[in-house]
Amino acid sequence: MKQIKFIFTGPPGAGKTTAIATISEFPPVSTDVFSTDSLSKLKDTTTVAMDFGQITLENGQKIGLYGTPGQRRFKFMWDILIQGGLGLIVLIDNRRPEPFKDLAMYLDNFSEFIEKTDAVIGITCIDIKDTPTLDDYQDFLKERGQIYPSFAIDARNKDDVLFLLNTLLTCLETS
């Protein structure tokens, strides 16, 4: 049975590595190194190549979980990682100064991929900073003429991350 490949993307610190580690059935492959730029104020390490984990459905279907580096300077890795992918999970850190810009940037850069597949959006840290709200995100997407399921999630919570995957699978099945 061919492995399904899902890609996690989003800005640095949004929880991509954590989300994959939360649901992967084996310790994920990580390429984290020390941050040497402003990001180090937020976190000590950053992903520079990819994260890789895996989860198996009850029917035996394996889903490969690939995390991208968040910084746009690693766009070459984004282009590599989406090859063969079936869906995109965009995690947005609500604490960032301009989360809509973050979202727009990732949707724009992955637009071709999303057109062929599908995407879901997980908003993290909305419990720490409650604006913009989920409704604001929906309005923003509507203005862009894009409709994607959006949820507030905690990347450390297995049910939350699985729910994103479930939703993405559902979207793919029904599209």
Binding site: S38, A49, L57, D159
Partner: protein, 247 residues
């Protein structure tokens, strides 16, 4: 379409979904205040000297002395960057000196959206950088086929480099940081220990990447005029020297 959480749960049954999860709560960095990556913070660019870019056929590295390095008009006295909340605003540096064939590097202007955390926090003195630069020059002298040597951070920012050809240093720094991290991960997954080199063997040259220390790496780019053994040996020695200088 807004799908409320819970409606689609268990639509596809994950093995673990119906079980009581013992979720490992890995702590995420939490701050009490909104994170500001400081879009308005502009610090000086990394101390990168791009020598001889104009002359792709040069056979010898263009000497860059400390006078060049500290050229007042280039405003690179504070070449190393220390990010502070109230860093001073500096104009983008793009200084090209006639006849000296060096210029300050700038980040590639490809960002349509600037949220990059490009401001290095590593802080090295002018003396450290000058001595490091001498080591790079020495590397180029000893390896006649070498046409590029770069010191960059492990997360992909170039710090100091010397090149004889017009190569995209910023891209190479970033891509090699990914490559080295992947190499180290593959070594770990293969139950092997310290990854010493990541070697790209190409039809007309080689690219060798290795760590200097926890936060810095060295990339050596050479034609086949220098054999691999020599490149690895000199690269290792240079990295060892740089480790001492930039400790």
């Amino acid at each position: 379409m807004k799908i409320k959480k819970g409606k689609l749960a268990a639509f596809f049954g994950f093995k673990s979904q119906n079980q009581e999860e013992s979720t490992e709560q890995k702590s995420l960095p939490v701050t009490d205040k909104p994170i500001d990556f400081g879009e308005d913070i502009h610090t000086e660019q990394p101390a990168v000297i791009d020598s001889a870019i104009a002359d792709s056929k040069a056979t010898e590295p263009v000497a860059i002395n400390s006078e060049n390095l500290l050229e007042p008009s280039t405003e690179i006295e504070e070449k190393t960057v220390e990010v502070e909340e109230k860093a001073t605003v500096a104009d983008p540096l793009e200084v090209e000196a006639t006849n000296t064939e060096f210029k300050m590097a700038t980040p590639e202007p490809t960002m349509d959206y600037e949220h990059e955390e490009e401001h290095l926090i590593v802080n090295y003195s002018k003396e450290q950088l000058a001595v490091s630069e001498e080591k790079l020059e020495e590397f180029m002298r000893v390896c006649p086929g070498a046409y590029g040597v770069l010191i960059s951070t492990v997360d992909g920012h170039e710090l100091l480099y010397l090149v004889k050809r017009d190569i995209p240093v910023h891209k190479i720094s970033t891509m090699n940081s990914s490559l080295l991290a992947l190499g180290e991960s593959i070594a770990r997954e293969s139950s092997q220990k310290l990854c010493q080199f990541v070697i790209l063997e190409n039809s007309d040259g080689r690219v060798v990447s290795l760590r200097i220390n926890d936060i810095l790496m060295l990339t050596c780019i050479s034609s086949k005029d220098t054999n691999l053994g020599m490149l690895l040996s000199v690269g290792r020695n240079t990295a060892g020297d740089l480790m001492k200088i930039l400790s």
